[in-house]
Amino acid sequence: MAKMFKGAENAFKVRLSIRTALGDKAYAWDTNEEYLFKAMVAFSMRKVANREKTEISHVLLCNVTQRVSFWFVVTDPSEKHTLPAVEVQEAIRMNRNRINNAFFLNDQTLEFLKIPSTLIPPTDPPVPIWIIIFGVIFCIVIVAIILLILSGIRQRRRKDKGPSEVDDTEDKCENTITIENGIPCDPLDTKGGHVNDAFMTEDERLTPL
């Protein structure tokens, strides 16, 4: 039997890292665990077409080390040879998740050397998230710019209208003379006014600081 292992192309090495995965809750690897392993491999093989008759006794383990690591191979007693590696590989890959769960391990802590595990692709949402956030901020900025520009234009129009409105009211005032008590107001005749220096006091000459 030893000839069928180690170097046999249909044998696979398995490596478990129980303590790394479970820490304090790590269980010891004994023959019962080995039995479970054989059962899982047989189960995987039974799922393959033409191999529904695989039994636990067809799975052989060898060379268990402290690590914990060992080699296994699946035989076909009716034909007295080991099952081809491709089939075993296919079977294990299909049921990897269940094998892992039986031992509370994952793809990294229960390694089948030479059987690459199918990696879970990162989930891609239909629309990349960053575009959504980009769109939101983009719209906010554009709206803010338009608001600012519009308010600037409005301010400028108000300023332009302001003096012209002032001019209108002044023109209107030109024709009105308010009368109080029968006397036209504004007794100071504006027409003949001129500067009276006496009213310009000294401190007004100087500019305020």
Binding site: L16, E174, M200, L206, P208
Partner: protein
Amino acid sequence: MMGRGLREPDHSKELRTRHTGPTSSQRDRGAALYLAISGAFPAAVARRGGARRHPFTSLAPPTGAPLTRLAIKKRASGSDAGHPRPSRTGRGAWRPRSKAAERGARAGASSAAMEKARPLWDNPLQFVFACISYAVGLGNVWRFPYLCQMYGGGSFLVPYLIMLIVEGMPLLYLELAVGQRMRQGSIGAWRTISPYLSGVGVASVVVSFFLSMYYNVINAWGFWYLFHSFQDPLPWSVCPLNGNRTGYDEECEAASSTQYFWYRKTLNISPSIQENGVVQWEPALCLILAWLLVYLCILRGTESTGKVVYFTASLPYCVLFIYLIRGLTLHGATNGLAYMFTPKMEQLANPKAWINAATQIFFSLGLGFGSLIAFASYNEPSNNCQKHAIIVSLINSSTSIFASIVTFSIYGFKATFNYETCLNKVILLLTNSFDLEDGFVTASNLEQVKGYLASAYPSKYSEVFLQMKNCSLESELSTAVQGTGLAFIVYSEAIKNMEVSQLWSVLYFFMLLMLGMGSMLGNTAAILTPLTDSKVISSRLPKEAISGLLCLVSCAIGMVFTMESGNYWFDIFNDYAATLSLLLIVLVETLAVCYLYGLRRFESDLKAMTGRTLNWYWKIMWAGVSPLLIISLFVFYLSDYILSEALQYQAWDASQGQLVTKNYPPHALAVIGLLVASSIMCIPLVALGMFIMRRLRRADTASVA
């Protein structure tokens, strides 16, 4: 005085009504008389007209509104039409001009006066915040920690602080004082000092233009990372799968996931600068957004900028403080801090340490771009810019030190994490090769186990030994990174290993954006202020259109940096666009103010403006020490460029997953030469142009006469 309904209570309306009645000719006579009397005292006129009734105005009503308005208009246009002639001294005639214009504007008497009045900061705090927001930028975060690490850790603070006092503060004060005194952007300010020197202003604008073109690309990258921080897991923490989903992408395996995300997903970098590739639409979109945001902030001039800088100056400190607390509590942070701050005194003797300290102070404060002149030109003339200069430079330097504490605690965390990962890999390798019991080898007994294995299984051990990496905490800590590599690779690598990494990532990139935006505001102010000061342009286009055009042009040219080879062009701009030119510009500035304009004249101007005498310390620094320092820096850099055989750059090799050094091709060298020459050549060319124009004008007048 009752009667005229329009008189009270609004005195400005009283002002307006008074000019009814008299004919236009009388009005003109009155106007002339009024002007003659109130010639130099427009403030008095404005106050009379707008604020209260005065017998003077009631006697000569025609002199009320229109003349006040006329007087104000004249004064207001006078204040901005030209340059406050340096020969006019004394406060009375010079200061109130702008105030009169302001008051006239406030009285709503004349729209023309309102447009001509120079906008001001709402309060001095806005000015200080604007300067801090501009000076405290990405360089404080990603350049200073690198320098500190390279040049002796704690002992680098000695040359740094000395250079701050000797070079940073005096030059900053000089620029602020020039801006506040001349009350114009860089071109106008230097034209006032001497028409031959307007080339200095033009050179500043050119350098600022180059800077704003490439600097906003960093903000675009910041946006990219910020938007990607809202995913779980962070996209740079996992490698994408390869074609048949059996393993990870090769490039990602060779490099690390953060490097892969930066070089492949963000930049999609090409192997060399010659292969240009196409414009990547994702960074291009982020660049457009970055420019739109800048436009939003500068749209209304100081009105909008003044409010934005409250945020861009203060928010980064909040985030840095949060990061400080988080950083100090990380596992392994003390390793980084100890490594950084243990002083290596022998570096003090290294001249490179001093040169780099001087350079860092110089560029960190943003001298020579014209932004500080632009900001200071919007100040009240009586503003105490000496105090502000000292405050801004101290805050800038202490922010650098503060940021480097944060950076080094993060470094320490990352280095410790990587060291422990490396150790774990070695342990796994040994465990698997020798089928030892799982969990038997730990970090503490690793060396013993290695020794045992080497003696027990020598042949097998020697095979395994080749695959073993030598893990060393020292080597992890000593990988010094600066620039975009630090910000986008090292930091994001550290962040992905923290708990709640999305939160830390969002905070960090938000802080980077604030820092970058603050500096961009200063850069664009440096370009816009001379443009809006010049009557030719500002009379044709409103302020919003000028800013919009600038943003559009810069964005269009900035698309070059979003191509596949964009990062290489970015490095060219980063290394060469501003370095030599700025040194020369600031040197010419200092010499011009001290020797062309005259240090005594400037001193008396400052005294008239602010009321404080100039300390002898500033005079010595301006006239002697700082120019000498700048000359020595300039000579050093020039000789460095000349002596180096070939200019090289770092290119990303996708197959190896690391950077390789290559030589610049001739067209890249030509671009470098153009960059440096186009800004430096402005100074002599404009001087020459002015000289020729004056000669021609003199020849014309001579021939006419």
